[in-house]
């Protein structure tokens, strides 16, 4: 028997259903977009929020964890934040709307997302990836704004481009489609932060043409009153290089999906993540990486520092397709637990259908090394400071690899700040 009575909607689900009814008429979009929204929302309406019975959401039972969804707040004030790197060109989305962008950089075009909704050009990319893509479905249903960023072929952008997605509470649903032309080079910083209770969904969708090189840095610093669902998806063309660095240092409920298709020979994808988890937060980084052509490479290093009653999850899945010979893919997830109640689940997976590859994964969980702690304290360094040094040592390697002094300093300052609050 397949007939099931759908369970009674949770308050969060009900709020989304009511919200869609109320918001729908005010959401931008041509008829194609409207149809895509309806299709996406039907997905949600039929299945509800995913529970632990859905494998992709096993460690993050969204139905249980998303306890409430605040109403939209038209009066909310969203404060732009100071740039992470000096001399950045900044595009700001505030409370889900494109606010302003420094659009005077040669080779760089910013367009408010509402333009792509109005002319329907975004419609085809609104469809969720698959049945598990609840973040995509919800975002497609509600997305109100953001920025489309296009970088011209051959452009070597010598200032960092910073996308700020800031809010003052309520609901925020943003998208940032990005195209990087052949041979172009750029450093892109994505800031996710705000104030007050909020439900945020945010998508970045990046296409790298051949020989394009991008360093993309995500700095997620939501307050502990925010549920934040995000997705970063990328496709890499021939010889394209994408280095994605993610630092999570906030949020009550965080699910970040990284979905990368390495589709061009010679392409390289690097993921580095520092998860700083404290309080009672739940943070889930889920990556799905597909190597679909021969001779591509990837490395993923995830470092987690978990304290208080925080919970963390890393799911990393690398699919090496049958034709993808000579793939070199490595994944490591290392966790430092700093309190008895801290918790981390790691689920690395390799699915390999090619026979001539070099692939591997590893996961470790450890506590602060007491011998190291004693050594540092025996030199007069207080316990707290000694712990800070050791935590920093644990994640510094991943940060210092960025080999951009200003960026390393900025991120280490974040780390010190987090530690001062939570160490």
């Amino acid at each position: 028997m397949n007939i099931q009575t759908p369970p009674k909607p949770t308050p969060a689900e009900q709020a989304l259903i009511d919200g869609y009814g109320e918001r729908f008429s005010r959401l931008a979009g041509n008829p194609d977009v409207v149809q895509a929204r309806d299709l996406a929302f039907d997905r949600f309406r039929q299945s509800g929020l995913p529970t632990r019975r859905v494998e992709a959401w096993h460690y993050t039972d969204l139905r249980r964890l998303l306890s409430d969804v605040p109403a939209y707040n038209q009066e909310a004030m969203a404060e732009p934040v100071g740039e992470l790197l000096e001399h950045s060109a900044i595009a700001i989305a505030a409370n889900g709307q494109a606010l302003q962008a420094d659009d005077n950089i040669d080779g760089v075009t910013w367009r408010p997302l509402t333009e792509l909704l109005a002319d329907g050009s975004l419609a085809s990319s609104l469809a969720p990836r698959d049945a598990d893509d609840m973040i995509g479905a919800l975002n497609a249903s509600f997305v109100s704004g953001g920025w489309a960023l296009d970088i011209e072929a051959g452009a070597e952008i010598d200032v960092p481009l910073e996308i700020q997605n800031v809010h003052g509470g309520g609901q925020v649903h943003t998208r940032f489609p990005v195209t990087v032309g052949a041979g172009a080079k750029a450093v892109i910083v994505e800031r996710q932060t705000g104030q007050g209770a909020a439900f945020v969904t945010s998508l970045a969708d990046v296409t790298l043409d051949e020989d394009a090189t991008v360093d993309w840095i995500v700095l997620q610093e939501q307050p502990d009153t925010v549920s934040y669902l995000s997705s970063f998806s990328a496709t890499l063309g021939r010889n394209a290089r994408l280095r994605l660095f993610v630092m999570n240092a906030g949020g009550r409920l965080v699910r970040e999906e990284v979905v990368v298709a390495v589709q061009g020979e010679g392409a390289d994808f690097q993921l580095r993540t520092v998860n700083l988890l404290a309080g009672e937060g739940h943070t889930d980084l889920t990556m799905v990486l597909d190597h679909t052509v021969p001779s591509t490479t990837s490395t993923e290093v995830v470092r987690n520092v978990v304290t208080g009653k925080a919970k963390g999850v890393f799911q990393g899945r690398i699919n090496v397709h049958q034709v993808a010979q000579k793939t070199d893919a490595r994944m490591a997830c290392n966790t430092l637990l700093m309190s008895d109640d801290a918790d981390f689940s790691a689920k690395p997976e390799l699915e390999i259908f090619a026979d001539d590859v070099a692939c591997g994964h590893g996961a470790t969980v450890a506590e602060i090394n007491h011998d190291h702690l004693f050594y540092l304290m025996a030199r007069g360094i207080s316990e707290k400071e000694a712990r800070r040094l050791l935590v920093k040592a644990f994640v510094a390697e991943v940060i210092e690899e960025l080999d951009d002094e200003a960026l390393v300093e900025a991120l280490e300052a974040r780390l010190d700040g987090w530690f001062a609050d939570n160490g």
Partner: protein, 251 residues
């Protein structure tokens, strides 16, 4: 002055008693050598003085300048002037040696109510100290002790000791793993620090270190107690005759 009175200490985890009623006094300016066969409790004594959590003091006391250190954590003891040169210095990947030295120096200065050192001043001090120990500054650009040879680690310990200027230096088998040239350099480094207001506890298995760091007093540790004390000639006696007859005498 260091006064250890009827000290009993055991391994916290399994309760094995290692120090069993140890009495020892080391005056300011004195260099006291602790000798003893393997397993007599030499390293444990050094750890208990420095405050390592793996050991529990069950009886007795350790007084430093008249005050008990037992309630102090290792950092507080260090700030009070206690320094342990480790037998096996830890390699700590990811902690830059210079940042470590700066943090340690400034933590102790802060505890003593002094201003933090400015970077150029720190660099100058480190350079001088490293030079006198014939250490390459390039080594100090590496993470703490990582990839250092045994001898380099021991030199790095003495470098830290020079920089931190402690008042009680506990040297735990500093001679192990050193060739004769390195031993001489390290011994010279230690001798340069000898002063009327600084006490040394030199723990060693062999006489050879004491040829270079000549002690004022020599104490034989066996089964967690001092079983014999004497002058430098006691060390020579042990070198010639081994520990057996001293142990036999005490039994």
């Amino acid at each position: 002055m260091l006064e250890i009175k009827n000290l009993h200490a055991r391994i916290a985890e399994d309760g094995t008693e290692i120090i069993r009623g140890l009495d020892l006094t080391v005056k300011d300016g004195e260099v006291a050598a602790i000798m003893g066969p393997n397993g007599s409790g030499k390293s444990t004594l050094s750890y208990v003085i420095a405050g390592r959590e793996d050991y529990e003091v069950t009886e007795g006391d350790i007084l430093w300048n008249g005050e008990s250190v037992l309630e102090m954590d290792p950092a507080e003891r260090a700030a009070a002037g206690v320094f342990l040169a480790f037998q096996y210095p830890m390699e700590i990947p990811g902690v830059a040696t210079m940042e470590f030295l700066k943090t340690a120096l400034n933590a102790q200065r802060k505890a003593r109510g002094e201003e933090p050192l400015k970077i150029p001043d720190l660099m100058k001090r480190v350079k001088e100290a490293a030079g006198s120990l014939e250490m390459d500054m390039a080594m100090l650009k590496r993470p703490l002790n990582v990839g250092f040879s045994g001898g380099e680690k021991k030199r790095a310990e003495i470098l830290q000791m020079k920089l931190l200027e402690p008042k009680l230096c506990v040297l735990d088998e500093t001679d192990s793993g050193l060739d004769i040239d390195a031993l001489k350099i390290v011994a010279d480094g230690v001798n340069a620090l000898r002063s009327p207001e600084r006490a040394f506890l030199v723990i060693t298995h062999y006489q050879r270190l004491l040829d270079h760091i000549v002690p004022d007093t020599v104490h034989v540790l066996y089964k967690g107690r001092i079983i014999k004390s004497g002058g430098p000639d006691l060390a020579l006696h042990l070198e010639e005759n081994g520990y057996a007859d001293v142990i036999g005498e005490a039994a």
